[in-house]
Symmetry: C2
Subunit: 208 residues, 2 copies
DNA sequence: AATAATATTGACACAGTGTCAATTTGTTTG
DNA sequence: CAAACAAATTGACACTGTGTCAATATTATT
């Protein structure tokens, strides 16, 4: 009844894929139910219902397991960062930046459970830290381009290095992101986004 | 010949103090010669020339050992953050902010060896992370006050929450601090400070 | 059905932590 | 000054978690 021709070849692959999937689902459960440091491979394989060594067949360790899980979350952030940015005026630019910053922090709030784990892992694990740096560079690269565009359109100051400005802007956002994730923010997300945007946009897109 | 009266009582104290000191010196050596995660208590006690358990008598563990070492470094940063800030004009404010930011990043560069360890430890250790948050709040509190002063003097925009602005400003600086520490900066410290300050100062101290 | 290829398994060796009863060192007292 | 006391130091031990690998189970091929 099932696929006859390929079925034989696939059955093994399928098992592999299933095991991998089981491990990922279990890892997610375990990471979310406690945190990255205290989560152990033993807990994960137990939850996944597979043997101990199996985890090491599919992943290099806890770190790599998380990196795979991270990617799904980060994709949602990339979508925000990579929206088209072609403002017609300074007011327009500011409005768009505000929207992006707000969306960014709101998403952080939505994904806070997983990002909490990510933050812990960044600290503990070298590979995760490296991965996070890549992610960050992708954001900063995108912002740099946006700034460059604005400079070319005569909207933004041209006496500043776009890459340096982009880093600074992203850093402030990133730090607030983790504050939101930790639930440590006193202020509302919208106010944070507004404040950051006001300072940044007026500083960079000054009228002269 | 030595102090007759107090000497007896002190000798024991002295031994304790010496052991503690030996451990701190050794910890510093070990942390700097490798990093926080791979450093072990065994290495530290060996370097200090004391027994294994001794480390646990004086400190709760690796974390607390580092926290004590951190404090010395951070004191130097506090000195910068707590300089008087009483600008007479916007240009004056900007100049002072630039000087502070520059001094901050230069000090990061000077203390990079120890700060590298601190950064690693922030990731790994809960107590160190908590300590770092305290340190950060001290900086942010100071900056908030400076902003408030500028607002009261009519130098800065009053439509923004000083605490939120202060956080954002500090976050950008903090992140660059760690980039400097990691030696990952492409740009020169002075240019980073200048860029950050330009955007921040023009964004906050706008003429309206 | 026998053989080959691949996936899974858990026991094992290892590394580091934190504890605590025993030991060493220093202080006080009769 | 020696016995009794107090404080500091010690390292062996029990524990927790990691990563490896030879053995085993499952699937594919001949």
């Amino acid at each position: 009844m099932k696929e006859p021709a390929q079925a034989k070849v696939d059955k093994r692959h399928l098992r592999t894929v299933r095991t991998r999937e089981k491990l990922l689902v279990a890892a997610r459960d375990v990471f979310l139910s406690q945190d990255f440091q205290t989560a152990t491979i033993s807990q994960i394989i137990k939850q996944a219902g597979v043997g101990y060594g199996t985890a090491y067949v599919h992943f290099e360790g806890k770190d790599e397991l998380l990196i795979v899980l991270m990617e799904d979350v980060m994709d949602r952030f990339y979508k925000i960062a990579e929206q088209v940015f072609e403002p017609r005026s300074r007011a327009d630019a500011k409005q768009q930046i505000l929207e992006q910053a707000t969306a960014f922090l709101r998403l952080a709030d939505e994904e806070r459970a997983m990002l909490r784990v990510v933050e812990q892992a960044i600290g503990v694990s070298y590979v995760v830290r490296t991965k996070w740096k890549q992610i960050r560079e992708r954001f900063i690269g995108q912002i740099s381009q946006d700034i460059l565009y604005a400079q070319q359109q005569g909207l933004a100051r041209t006496d500043l290095n776009p890459k340096l400005v982009a880093r600074g802007w992203f850093f402030a956002n990133e730090m607030y992101l983790f504050e939101v994730v930790r639930g440590e923010t006193t202020a509302a997300i919208d106010e944070i986004a507004r404040t950051l945007t006001e300072v940044y946009a007026h500083g960079l897109y000054r009228e002269d």
